[in-house]
């Protein structure tokens, strides 16, 4: 037994978190240019934190490890936002030599976004974690792994069973012995019913952790692919371009119909959710205002959050002034709209991650670019500068909430987590910008170091440039956003928790993912009915957490191996 103060916000945890965060940013920025997606770093940071703090230094506690993991994932997440948006500017410059942009406004916007995401989401912590009790599957898995470090391996057997099974299964998938996505159509079920399932145990485990609460997500997938898709094919064939093959029809239905409708539903549901949750948000807000008398429950004061929002406002305004000729009054209006949108989008992404572990970031980026291009009269540099700040804010908000959930489950003080996320997330912006700049300069001859035709194709940047083109050519499906928004509002008014957000998210994603998740929900519901909810908490939660972490570890290992080789 130790008599000294409980170790929580320590120098060791801070330094370790920063080091891990920087390493993860460098690796994951590179991976995102190579593969087109990035990875979450919370679970990896928690495992390394346990090994280094307790194993090497012999001092680590659970809450100290939570601080380390919060810092690492905040830096990593901020870097991911940069790696998603900034390469588009390099590629646009390569296409058109007259196109130019300055680095400083981008950096200022990125740092402002890293702060904004945290301060916008803090007032929603009590609402999402304590009142709505969203599951946040990865946050729960990270808490389970942190707790298992203290409990000892014998008490965490279900976690390790899950971890080993999932790691082996992911290894089999990576080796190619079994395809990651398999068809169950057998040539009988038509392609427009999307008879595919994604064989990810992580996906099934997220459904198992959500249980009955995640079922609307499954229903949304069925609505999209087993009801709407055949209706479109049979009753409205004229809305599909002539001459498309079966696979092309599926791509068209998904890309041009279901996905935009899903984005619209998500936005409508989030807005209506804010209206409906107003009384409980106010209760949570009052609780925040009254500055809890309980020391361990304290959070950053609202006046400080307001001051930071003002600073962020000024920073975003300054970065816009550098690349536009609009009047100051109009730019103030644009930044105000951008911040309000950042709050709504942060809420959408945090709710989606909390309910399903899946982030609709690219959809939110599409809406952000669309909104900014309209407000800034097609000024690409200014729009992307602001999109980078807003994009980072959105991802920071979801990451903060995920880490706060982990903190709740192991009893950390929220104020420490909020301080470290605010204090260190910006590091990820600088590191990621530096990595991208160096990689771009490393290109041979006139060619940049990444983009189509190089070993780093940067698929996300290509997606963003195509979004810019879509806005310039007026091909953004605004009608579907609006109709989807109306449906999202109505779904949220129905008396089923999370219905609007989950249905929207399901239509936004491929059905192969929704199906695996839905199976996880059904398994969990069946087990709960048979054995009771304490069985779920005692056995299924650690088992599913292991399944999530096992796949994440092997996935990261494979991605790094792929990059190195």
């Amino acid at each position: 037994m130790k008599t000294q103060t409980y170790r929580e916000f320590t120098v060791a945890a801070t330094i370790l978190g920063i080091l891990q965060g920087v390493i993860l940013v460098v690796a994951f920025a590179y991976i995102s240019l190579k593969l087109g997606f990035s990875l979450g770093g919370s679970a990896i940071a928690a495992i390394l934190g346990y090994v280094l703090l307790r194993g090497v230094l012999g001092v680590g506690t659970s809450v100290e490890n939570n601080i380390n993991q919060t810092i690492a994932s905040s830096i990593n997440t901020a870097g991911t936002g940069v790696a998603f948006v900034m390469p588009a500017l390099f590629l646009l410059q390569a296409q058109d030599p007259s196109f130019s942009f300055a680095l400083t406004p981008l950096l200022v916007s990125g740092v402002a976004g890293a702060l904004l995401g945290v301060v916008l989401i803090i007032p929603l912590r009590k609402q999402l974690i304590e009142l709505d009790r969203l599951r946040f599957p990865t946050g729960t898995a990270t808490a389970t792994i942190i707790r298992s470090g203290s409990e000892g391996f014998s008490k965490a057997k279900y976690l390790f069973i899950g971890l080993i099974v999932s790691a082996i299964w992911k290894g089999i998938l990576i080796s190619g012995l079994v395809a990651e996505e398999v068809s169950f159509g057998f040539g009988i079920i038509p392609l427009y019913l999307s008879p595919f399932i994604y064989l990810s145990l992580m996906n099934v485990a997220a459904g198992m952790l959500s249980g009955r609460g995640g079922l609307p997500f499954f229903w949304g997938g069925i609505l999209g692919w087993w009801i709407l898709s055949p209706m479109i094919v049979h009753f409205s064939p004229e809305s599909i371009p002539v001459g498309l093959e079966a696979a092309g029809v599926v791509d068209f239905i998904y890309g041009e119909m279901l996905r935009p409708l899903g984005i619209g539903i998500l936005i409508g549901a989030a807005l209506m959710g804010v209206v409906l949750a107003y009384p409980s948000m106010m209760a949570a807000f009052r609780s925040l205002l009254s500055a809890s008398k309980i020391k361990s429950q304290r959070e950053l004061p609202l006046w400080l959050l307001a001051v930071i929002v003002l600073l962020v406002f000024s920073a975003l305004l300054w970065s816009l002034i550098q690349s536009t000729d609009f009047s100051l009054g109009y730019l103030i209006f644009v930044v105000l709209i951008a911040i309000i949108w950042a709050w709504v989008a942060s809420l959408i992404v945090a709710q989606s991650v909390g309910l399903s572990d899946i982030t609709p970031l690219s959809g939110m980026a599409l809406v952000t670019v669309f909104l900014m291009m309209i407000l800034l009269d097609g000024n690409v540099v200014a729009s992307i500068t602001l999109t980078m700040g807003i994009g980072i804010a959105i991802t920071q908000g979801a990451d903060m909430m995920q880490d706060l959930k982990t903190g709740f489950l192991i009893g950390s003080k929220p104020i420490y987590q909020q301080i470290v996320q605010l204090s260190f997330a910006w590091i990820g912006v600088f590191v990621s910008v530096g990595v991208l700049y160096l990689l771009w300069q490393s290109g041979v001859g006139d060619q940049g170091g990444f983009g189509p035709g190089t070993t780093l194709p940067a698929p996300q940047a290509s997606t963003l440039t195509s979004l810019v083109s879509a806005v310039q050519n007026d091909t953004v499906p605004t009608d579907k956003f609006i109709f989807g928004g109306i449906v999202g509002v109505m779904l949220t008014l129905a008396p089923i928790a999370g219905l609007g957000v989950l249905v929207g998210l399901a239509m936004y994603l491929p059905f192969s993912i929704t199906l695996g998740y839905g199976i996880g929900c059904l398994i969990s519901m069946g087990l709960e009915k048979q054995y009771g909810y304490s069985f779920i908490e005692k056995i299924i939660v650690p088992l599913a957490s292991g399944l999530i972490i096992g796949e994440a570890l092997v996935g990261v290992g494979d991605a790094i191996y792929g990059v190195l080789s």
Binding site: K126, E130, S296, D479, I486, M490, K538
Partner: protein, 175 residues
């Protein structure tokens, strides 16, 4: 009768959702008139919602009835059992006993309440929000005590216990 109403309202609402999404595939916002199919389908959604809300007001689910009896007894039990756990810690300084006790409290008292939190919200409305927030604070403190005990920090266990006593008093006040 109420079952038919609930089923019917669900069907009308679902039909409205499906038809609105289907109509949005070909409908242009600029071309909408009062006779457009999408207007009819939106009306169906609203009708289904109105029926649903009417049906909900007439119902009191078994979960809500159960929630009414859950709250007070569990609040006092949490306090009593936890005091026993702390006494055992002070006497024996045995971490395993303490952790076992905390797990017992969480499983026997907090989990059933958390499992019912939607029903509690529905039953007590605005009043329940403070109770749920206090229960969440108590849960966080129990988690902290468990972490501190497992990490071997008895002073933190005692500090957090004192805070837990304050929170449980707040819950008693609200209830």
């Amino acid at each position: 009768m109420s079952k038919i109403t609930s089923f019917t309202s669900g069907v009308i609402f679902t039909l409205g959702v499906v038809l609105t999404l289907f109509a949005s595939v070909w409908t242009k916002l600029a071309d909408i008139t009062l006779t457009s199919p999408i207007i009819f389908s939106i009306f169906l959604m609203i009708l289904g919602l109105v029926f649903m809300q009417g049906w909900i007001k007439e119902q009191k689910t078994p979960e809500q009835e159960k929630a009414e009896t859950l709250q007070v007894s569990n609040v006092s039990h949490i306090l009593i059992v936890f005091k026993q756990a702390i006494e055992q810690l002070e006497v024996s300084d045995n971490v395993d006993v303490l952790v076992e006790k905390i797990v017992e409290i969480i499983e026997n008292y907090l989990l059933p309440i958390n499992h019912q939190h939607q029903a509690i919200k529905a039953t007590y409305g605005q009043q329940s929000l403070d109770i749920i927030l206090n229960l969440a604070q108590a849960e966080r403190l129990l988690n902290r005590i468990q972490s501190a005990a497992l990490d071997g920090y008895p002073q933190e266990v005692k500090n957090s216990y004192d805070e837990l006593v304050q929170v449980t008093r707040q819950i008693e006040l609200h209830s």
